[in-house]
Every structure is written in C-alpha cells, then in structure tokens.
Amino acid sequence: MTWRCGIAVFPGTWSERDCAHWVELAGGEPVMLWHAERELKGADLVVLPGGFAHGDYLRAGAIARFAPLMAAVRDHALAGGPVLGICNGFQILCEAQLLPGALLRNSCLQFRCQSTHLRVEVGRGPLLSGLEPGTVLRMPISHGEGRYYAPPDQLQELEAGGQVALRYCGPAGELGDEHNPNGSLEHIAGVLNREGNVLGMMPHPERACEPLLGSEDGLQLLRAALAVLGPR
C-alpha cells in the first residue's frame, strides 16, 4: 500500500497538478480534494498547494479558510494527522489559525519567482524528522505575499518551541538579508504548529522534484516525510 496524499483544490489553486506529479515521484498516491466537499477521501497526508484560492481577494487565504474542506482538514490536523501547506496553502493555514503568524506583502513590494536555499532548523514531527537540522535544500519561491510576520512574543515562543522549521539562507546555510527574498522576520520560510504535525512553507518543493527542473530537494523532503510515516 502506498501513502495517500490528499491535495486540496480551491477555485484559483494552480499547483495541484504539480503536487500530484511530485507525490507520484515520491511513491505516494495523489487524490484531489475539492474545496466544497467535507471529505478527505482516506488521505494520510493532506497538502494545501499553491495558487490564488478565491483570487486571494480580501487577503490571501481569508476566504479559503471557510471552505467545507477546511473543516475536515482541521479535524485531521487536530487529530495529529500530517498537513503541509505550500505557498498559498501556508497562507490559508495561517488564516485558519492552524499555524501561527501571518504572511505579508514582500518587502520589495513585487512578486518574486526565483531559486532560494533553505536551512532545515528542526527535525521534528512527521514531515521533517527525516531530515537532519542544518540540511540545506534548494527550491524556488513564487509569491507576492510571503513575508513571514509574528508579534515579538509569539516569535520568541516559536523559536523556543522549535516551531521555526525552515529559514532562507545562502548555499552553505549562512543567514543574511541578501538571502532573504521577501523580508521575512528572522528569515523564516516555514513554520510548524506546536505539535509538529502541521507545516507551512512559502517555497515550492513540488517544483524541485527532478534534475531536469534544476533540483530534486523537494522530492527529498517528501520522501523523508513518507519514510518517517512508515509503511502504511
């Protein structure tokens, strides 16, 4: 049996097919989950992909969080099931309060599509414990609103609780403003919930799944996660 990865599709989602391709390459079975249905179709892992759900009008993710599907995602997350939000999916998880903080307009005030390096900060929870902290991954970003923000006390709590999952860095893992593409606080590219089963990240691992596309590091991330989940 292979792992079944549910991929949420909202009106305006655009990386569901890329995610399905990525899941297949990692040996999982992708299944599309329609936003209007309150049904995870037996998914072990739920992925909220990139896009502009409901046009991202009002605020990115602000409308999507009310989708019937999100109630099922919440139940799954609260029961400890793994949930991964990528780009718009991360924004939706923050709006749904399944993850702390918010994603603001990039500090450069422009959309950014470029390759970035990420440093794995914690090897915790079902999605990251297969990776050594300090591992550097390369994958692209593609967003206009990816500047991670949390109030100072919450940020301190995140750092202390091992919830900062990924940071933008240089090729050798070094931190610096020149490696931070959007002005995120503390170079944060991805965060975990307190329990570690919900991960949100702005970069696109599904775009780094073949040597032909310039990197396989996104595949590494998913394979490690599936390995941690163990045989189904």
Binding site: P11, G12, W14, S15, R17, D18, H21, W22, G50, G51, F52, H54, G55, D56, Y57, Q110, F111, R112, C113, Q114, P140, S142, G144, H204, E206, R207, C209, E210, L212, L213, G214
Partner: protein, 739 residues
C-alpha cells in the same frame, strides 16, 4: 434615425463612404445600435481592412498545420495526437493609457484565445517596447506593464517563460505590449469557434456584462492624442481569478459532445463573437439581451452589444444538453445564461424588451466592409539614411568602454528584473528558464519539448522594413537553433503607425512582403497573427515593429546545452557569415545618433543552413554551449557566454592589423546569422565537419578560461566587470524614482 454627423461617425471609426456603403447594402439607414455594431466590426482591429490584402501573401501551407489563420489561434501537429495551439496579440493602446490593466487584460485575452480551442495554456511570452529608462515616466510605464503581465499570469497559474524587451526613445509615446500564449490539446478535444445547428442554444458564461471597454476595438483603430488619458474608461479591468475558473470549466467541457462551439468575447464583445461564430458555421444567431446578466443598471442594448467586459465566453451547445453544460459552470461558481439561439437566416438578430432592435446580415457585418488601400510611398529620408555612414564622427569610446556600456545597456543586459516578477515555473515543465535564447517547455510523457521565442528588429526595420521583418524571423529561428529546436510555425504581431500616412503604409507593405519571403525560405508556415496600427502619438509614428513568435520542437530535452561556457579549455567557435554592419545597431543607439547606414545583410539560404548545422551540433551533444549573436554583436555575445558560465575566454577575431575604425564594427557590428558555440577540445574536428557538411562558415576563435574576456590585440575586460555591467542595466535604471 437621421444621418449621423461626421463627428459621430469618427467616434465609431467609420467614414462617410462606409456609412453610405452600409445604407446601400442594407437598403435602409442602420439604426444607432446597428451602426455601432458595424463600426466595431469594420474597425481595423476586427476587420483588418487595411492589412488583409497584404496578409494573403503569408502562407499557412505545411503538413504540420492543423488550423491556420481565421480561428482563435493557429494549431500545429506535434505528433502522437498532440496539438500545439498558439497566437500573439497586441494590447498597445490600452497599456499606454492604463499600463497595469492594459497589460493584464492583454494576457487575459490571449489566454482566452488559446483555451477557446480546448487547449491548456502552458506558456506565456511577452514582447515589450518602451521609451528609454532615463525618463521617470517611462520607468513608471515599464514597471506597471511588467506588474500587469505578472498580475494576470501569476494568478491564473500559467508560466511566463520568455519574451523580449527593448527600450528606445521612438516608443516614448506609444509603448508596445504584445502577449503570446502557447497551449496544448489532444486532437479529439480541439474546439472550433462555430455556431451551427438551428435551434441550438447560445450561452454567455463568466463575468457579468458591464460598461467597461465599450468601443475598445474602435479605440484601438484610431491614433492616440494628448487627450488619450480621457479614454481610460475604454480600457477593461481584468479578473484573473475569474478567468482561471472559466478556463478550468471550458477545459473540462472540451471533448464533450454537448459543446458545438466556443469563442471568447474579445474586441467588440458579443457583437463580434456571435457574428464570427455564426459566419463560420454558415448560420445566424438571435440574441435576447434581456437574458444577459448585467453588472450595472440601465445599460442600453448598444452598451450590452459593444461591452468588452473581460472574462466572458460564448458557447453554442447541443439542444437539450444545456443543463449538463451549466452544471460544470455552476461547480466553478460561474454564471452561465442562455442568451440566444442559432437560427437559419444568416443574420445577427438582437432583441430587447420583446422587440427586435437590430438585424444585420452577417455577410455585411463580418465581410461587407470596404477594403482600404491607402496610398504608399517610400520616404526620401530612407534613401539618405541607407547611404549614410553608420557612425557619424566615429565612436568617442575605447573598445573597452563601448563594450561595458553595451553590456550595461538595458537592451542587452540581464533581464531578471523582469522575469523574477513572473511565475515562470508553475506547471513543472519549464526546463530552460527565461533570460536566454529560447524558452523550453517539456512535453509530458515524451522525451521532447517545445521551444519558443519572440523577436523583433525595429531599428533595422526603420532603415529597411522588408529586411527588418526578415531579420526578426531569422533571429527567432537562431534562438530556437541554440536549444536544438526545429521550428514548426510562426505567429506575428504587426505593430505600425497610422497607415493613412504614405510612409507607414509603405513600411507595412514592405514588412509583410519581407515576412512572407523569410517564412517561405525558412519553410515556416504562418498560422496566426494580429495587426496593430495607429500606434501614433500626436502625429509621431512608432518605428515599424513586426514581432514574430516561433514555436519549435526540441528532440531530446535532457541534452540541452546552456548559453554559458561550460569548462576551461573548451574551444570557442563562431558559426555563420561574417557580417559586421553597424546600421541600426545598439552601439549606434547608445551613441545617440540617428538610425543610419545599411542594416545587416541577410542571406536566408545561408541562415537556413547555419540553423541546421547548429541544431545538429546541439542535438547530437557536440556543442557544450550555444548562443546567438544579436544586439552588440560578437563581443557582447562572447561576454554573455562568459558571464553565464562564470568563465573567461581568450579569442582572436579579424586579421592581424587593427581596422580603420579601431575595431568597433568587428566587435559590435550586428551581422545576421552568427552563433557562438563552445565544444570539448576533442570535438573540434566534429564541429568543423558538421559546418562543412552544411556549407556554413565556421571559425575557431580561441579557448575558454581565465578571468577576463579578452579579444587579443583589441580589448579585454575583467569577467567580474562584465558580470556587473550586465546586472547593472535594467536593475540599475529601475533603482531610480518612478513618476
């Protein structure tokens, strides 16, 4: 209705002669609504009344062509039942007035043209022209157009994989925004824009109809004036989210036998979509405007019929199957309304409030316009310009200075300032990223890929529009060769000034003739296109700017060389003829001079053979890098290969003695048909053998290595300085304040 005044007709872009022609043909005076519909469909934008007779020279005959011009987009066969559907279109006038929305809706429009054929869009490209970036107003316009392209493409989730941008004072008044879209569809799902089957319902789906964009088509067919900004209401506002849903719903329906025909509502809105669909189907359409969902209260039939509200499509559905079609739109939370039906009479009949308010025969509406044949003449200045020396007074710069200035020119420099604002990777198929010769998108489940390039050559066109058009085609073919692609077909966007000026008409005639000649010689069928005339501001015309988009097939995408040199010690070759013309060159522009001197010579037969040779070297894996010589000539191409590979080079060009002009033409001349290739030293013999086989000149220039780009005896610049100059160009200019 009393006969309209001259001013009223001008507002509709109609002449008195055209009005009287309509009266004669109808046997009565058209009412106000009918006149508005005729004005829109007879506008240059919709009817091509000035360019049509010229465009007949362009041939779409080739075995790979499935659909030629006349549908929403052209279609070529990629083999194994897969079809590629593509087109380029301008949105110049709207972008000049409201750059974000003008550019955004240009992208939205070309996407609709492609998914109207049932094809899933897989790539967007843009060809842009602005005035020079020293002017804050131009920086503003440029930044906003890029924002608009990104706003639409990024949101809808189609990658913008390539394009070209040129800054020249000649576009100060009229920027050009040409958007190209490429889509894929399997043969059974290919859709056509037809209305047929009497009694079949006609549906309008997507956005509600509002007052935006009324007369957009006629607006695009008159020249801009200083008061143009007041026409801002003629520019539509885009909603890419709505279009994303519309696209998914239409693609879901493609292949369903319930769908008879599909067309987007573009220029001239419901009027043109219904008229053109019915004309193609040999039928007519009756519309009941009371069924059209409105965005605003109190809209007149005139406004409903001419609205250019974006994100709308017209469908013809098999009788009795409306509900299953509507269910798809319902699922995507989109509005869909039955607004009419197909009728046997070949007419467009419009009713409102239970009364027939317009009734026009389609033969008159779609094809009944009077062709225009404005007089043309070759301006005298052209003759003088061609005979002049390209660099009057020579160059005040040393070769090194000129070299670095060229690398830092926004026209040659790094373009990441633009493409990092575009999602160029969504879809997981972009295997050659933007910024180099051609973009490559892989074809899933096969080992091959699609290569696409858009190109233009306006400065050469100003000197010789026939040659300029040919140079644009040749450049696109070279760009494809660099990634080993065989060109399949071409789309074109003809951007010109006011054709009522004799010299502009001459430019148009010459350019189309040149385009036809180049396509014939390079065996490229022309499958789609668009004409944008009246690109004038206060009487000044843009330079003739034919832009071409070429699509080709790359045999094996795992074997693509990059543009950058790959390893120290590799041998560097220049392949192709040795022209060094400076007429219309980038160096000339930087020196601030007029566009003078003969443009690059072009031997199309040699271009074809050089393309074959390079394609063979690339696809068999002999070439480790391939890049074509374009703006800035050989020296700029060499420096670009060095910067891309992070390696220096030492080369020798020309003979032993230093030329009389100090070497400017030798280094920076823009002779057509040249490529810079590098090969492993063991492959040098193979390189020479393949070129000899195709009878293409090929010269070994030197070797990769070191930390300088050195042209022995003439000039050398540090690699780091070349890299810094390339990054400086657009990004440096855009660091300044915008208006």
């Amino acid at each position: 209705m009393a006969a309209p005044s001259a001013a009223q007709l001008r507002e509709l872009a109609l002449t008195e002669e055209e009005y009287h022609h309509a009266v004669r043909q109808l046997g009565r005076a058209p009412n106000e609504l009918e006149l508005g519909m005729l004005g829109a469909l007879w506008s240059e934008h919709c009817s091509y009344k000035t360019s049509r007779r010229l465009l007949s020279q362009l041939s779409s005959q080739a075995p790979q062509v499935v659909v030629g011009p006349g549908e929403n987009a052209g279609v070529v066969d990629l083999g194994e039942g897969l079809l590629c559907c593509f087109k380029i279109e301008s949105h110049n006038h709207p972008s000049a007035i409201e750059p974000v929305q003008g550019a955004a809706t240009g992208v939205g429009g070309i996407l609709r043209d492609v998914f109207a054929m049932g094809a899933r869009p897989v790539a967007l490209l843009d060809a842009l022209r602005f005035g020079e970036l020293g002017d804050p107003a131009q920086r503003h316009r440029f930044a906003k157009v890029v924002e608009g392209v990104g706003f639409y493409g990024n949101c809808i989730g189609v990658p913008t994989v390539g394009g070209e941008t040129y800054f020249d004072d000649a576009y100060r008044g009229n920027c050009l925004v040409n958007a190209m879209c490429v889509g894929l569809v399997t043969a059974p799902r290919l859709l056509h824009a037809v209305a047929r089957g009497v009694g079949n319902p006609v549906l309008l789906v997507g956005a509600d109809t509002g007052r935006d964009g009324i007369h957009g088509a006629t607006f695009a067919s008159v020249q801009l004036d200083e008061g143009a900004e007041e026409r801002r209401p003629a520019v539509q506002v885009g909603n890419p989210f709505l279009e994303k849903c519309l696209m998914e719903a239409c693609l879901e329906l493609a292949g369903s036998s319930a769908l008879v025909g599909l067309q987007d509502c573009g220029a001239a809105g419901l009027t043109s979509s219904c008229a053109e669909m019915a004309r193609r189907g040999g039928a007519g359409v009756r519309l009941d405007l009371d069924q059209v969902a409105r965005r605003e209260l109190g809209m007149t039939p005139y406004e409903v019929m001419l609205s250019e509200s974006q994100e709308r499509m017209v469908l013809v559905v098999e009788r009795g199957r409306v509900e299953e079609v509507r269910a798809v739109f319902d699922r995507w939370e989109l509005r869909s309304d039955v607004v009419g039906e197909v009728i046997a009479q070949e007419e467009l009949q419009i009713s409102s409030g239970g009364q027939m308010v317009a009734r026009l025969p389609l033969s008159l509406l779609v094809e009944g316009f009077l062709p225009r044949r404005p007089p043309s003449s070759r301006p005298l200045e052209v003759e003088r310009a061609l005979r002049a020396a390209p660099l009057t007074g020579g160059s005040p710069w040393t070769l090194e200075e000129a070299w670095l200035r060229l690398l830092a020119s926004p026209n040659c420099s790094d373009t990441s300032w633009i493409y990092r604002q575009y999602d160029h990777q969504v879809g997981d198929d972009t295997v050659v990223l933007p910024g180099w010769d051609a973009a490559v998108v892989r074809l899933r489940g096969r080992g091959d890929g699609l290569a696409v390039s858009v190109d233009g050559a306006h400065r050469s066109s100003l000197l010789d529009p026939r040659r300029g058009a040919q140079l644009a085609v040749a450049e696109a073919v070279r760009n494809l060769s660099c990634v080993g692609a065989r060109p399949l077909a071409l789309t074109n966007c003809l951007n010109f000034g006011n054709p009522e000026k004799e010299e502009v008409m001459w430019q148009l005639e010459e350019a189309v003739a040149g385009l036809a000649e180049a396509c014939r010689q390079l065996a490229l069928p022309v499958v789609s296109g668009n004409v944008s005339l009246y690109n004038d501001l206060s009487g000044d015309s843009i330079p003739p700017t034919p832009v071409v988009g070429v699509v080709g097939l790359v045999g094996d995408i795992r074997r693509l060389p990059g543009p950058g040199f790959a390893a120290a010690g590799d041998l560097i070759y220049v392949v192709g003829p040795g022209g060094t013309e400076l007429g219309g060159s980038e160096l000339q522009r930087l020196l601030g001079g007029m566009v003078l001197g003969p443009p690059p010579e072009l031997d199309l037969e040699l271009e074809r053979r050089a393309a074959e040779a390079v394609r063979q070297l690339v696809s068999e894996g002999s070439a480790r890098s391939a890049h074509d010589c374009s703006l800035g000539g050989l020296a700029v191409a060499l420096a670009e290969c060095c910067v891309a590979g992070g390696l220096g080079a030492v080369v020798r060009v020309g003979g032993q003695s230093i030329p009389a002009d100090g070497g400017h033409a030798l280094l920076f001349g823009e002779g057509s048909g040249r490529y810079v290739l590098s090969v492993d030293p063991a492959e040098g013999g193979r390189m020479e053998e393949v070129c000899a086989g195709w009878r293409v000149p090929c010269a070994r220039l030197g070797e990769v290595g070191g930390d300088q780009v050195e042209i022995v005896g003439l000039a050398r610049i540090p690699l780091a300085a070349a890299a810094a100059a390339r990054l400086e160009g657009i990004a440096g200019a855009m660091a300044g304040p915008v208006l």
